[in-house]
């Protein structure tokens, strides 16, 4: 996967409505998204992998993803791998709880000390994993504790309909919706890849293929369309820089 997907980490919680540890996954994910790593994380409702469209299924191909599961069934990790891509990391709350010797929560909702403690521990583990995936420094215990205790103005927003940049291209008279294309253009441009360079068309197609299904019969036409769109992008960018 190229560097362009390393800007944020996707968090997929199982949300397990039936189990107290399912609630823990949800509450811990929200803590990370809103307070501990608000600028570095995004989320998506797991059931959207089945109910949504291709752009939702591209989630784990676009973002390195941490699956947070409540129990050993590991629905979040397995469904993410099944529909999108293998998660970059997987945390199972029940296993974490045993490792840390914490009390098992009994309630699905409402205040409960055992659940609150486990939510904090899970959120800390997820936040550290986010840092590891982004190559950032480890968060200090005090920093995590402060993030958990202090209310933030931030709000978690799921990535359905908004998180992944998309661009449409006409290919062989058909409109293709290509995931991540604006970001791919940005990346190649930053790398100094010129549209007239012989390797550019190939690079464009290979990057596009990571996030999109490219039917074989459309490959040549898509390569040409990508190059044309990239040429326009570079021209616009050069014009904007001159202004």
């Amino acid at each position: 996967m190229p560097d362009l997907s390393q800007k944020k980490v996707g968090i997929i919680a199982c949300s397990g409505e039936e189990l107290p540890c399912g609630t823990v996954t949800r509450e811990a994910a929200l803590l990370v998204l809103e307070r501990l790593r608000p600028q570095e994380t995004v989320t998506l409702c797991l059931p959207l992998f089945l109910a949504g469209e291709e752009r939702e299924r591209a989630f784990a191909r676009f973002f390195p993803t941490i699956a947070v599961d409540g129990c050993e069934k590991r629905c979040a990790a397995r469904a993410t791998a099944l529909y999108s891509a293998e998660p970059a990391a997987s945390i199972v709350v029940d296993e974490l709880r045993e490792q840390l010797g914490l009390e098992a929560p009994q309630r699905i909702r409402g205040p409960e000390e055992a659940r609150r403690t486990l939510v904090a521990a899970t959120a800390a583990a997820v936040a550290q994993e986010v840092g590891r995936l982004l190559g950032k420094r480890e968060m200090a215990t005090e920093e995590i504790a402060a993030g958990i205790d202090v209310l933030s103005e931030g709000a978690a927003v799921c990535s359905c309909m908004s998180g992944i940049p998309v661009e449409r291209l006409e290919v062989n008279g058909e409109t293709l919706e290509l995931i991540a294309l604006p970001t791919i253009f940005e990346l190649l441009s930053q790398q100094g890849q010129h549209p007239d360079d012989g390797a550019t068309a190939h690079a464009l197609l290979e990057h596009t293929r990571i996030y999109n299904a490219v039917p074989g019969e459309n490959e040549d036409a898509l390569r040409q369309a990508l190059l044309l769109a990239y040429r326009e992008y570079c021209a616009e960018r050069a014009g904007a820089e001159r202004r």
């Binding site: 409505e17 929200l30 998506l44 797991l46 059931p47 069934k73």
Partner: protein
């Protein structure tokens, strides 16, 4: 058939992790299963349906299932349908909001007093539907 054999109604809220209405739907499901109709209704992990877990699929095919959705993506309803079942009823949190625009839900991780009220209004409607579905089951067994 006695009351004991009437199947529990499954209440399936969407996961709605990034949407405040998702949290309201989830809370409504818990108000029904824990307070209003305990023993008559219970919930199920939607993620297990998404994964295609056979036991979860069997349950929604055999038991009347109510979907609660917090956004237009209607994940709960679609996941039930993808499991080969037809929801016995579907509820949308937004429909409650349309009737009670004075209730402004605070936030996804803390729905606030207005959100709690909205969840309770929705839960009352769902509880009525649970009763109706169980009456139907009794009649069809008689």
């Amino acid at each position: 058939m006695s009351d004991k054999q009437i199947p529990e109604v499954i209440i399936l809220p969407c996961s709605g992790i990034g949407k405040a209405f998702g949290s309201v739907g989830r809370e409504a499901a818990y108000v029904v299963t824990e307070e209003l109709r305990p023993g008559q209704a219970r919930t199920l992990c939607l993620s297990s349906l998404t994964l295609g877990d056979e036991e979860a699929k069997r349950r929604v095919r055999r038991q009347p299932t109510i979907a609660i959705d917090g956004c237009p993506k209607t994940c709960a309803r679609i996941n039930i349908e993808q499991a080969g079942a037809e929801p016995a009823a579907t509820f949308r949190v937004f429909d409650v909001f349309r009737q009670h625009k004075e209730l402004k839900v605070r936030h996804v991780s803390d729905i606030g007093e207005a959100g709690e009220k909205m969840a309770r209004i929705l839960a009352e409607e769902i509880a009525q539907k649970v009763d109706e579905l169980q009456r139907k089951e009794r009649k069809s067994d008689a």
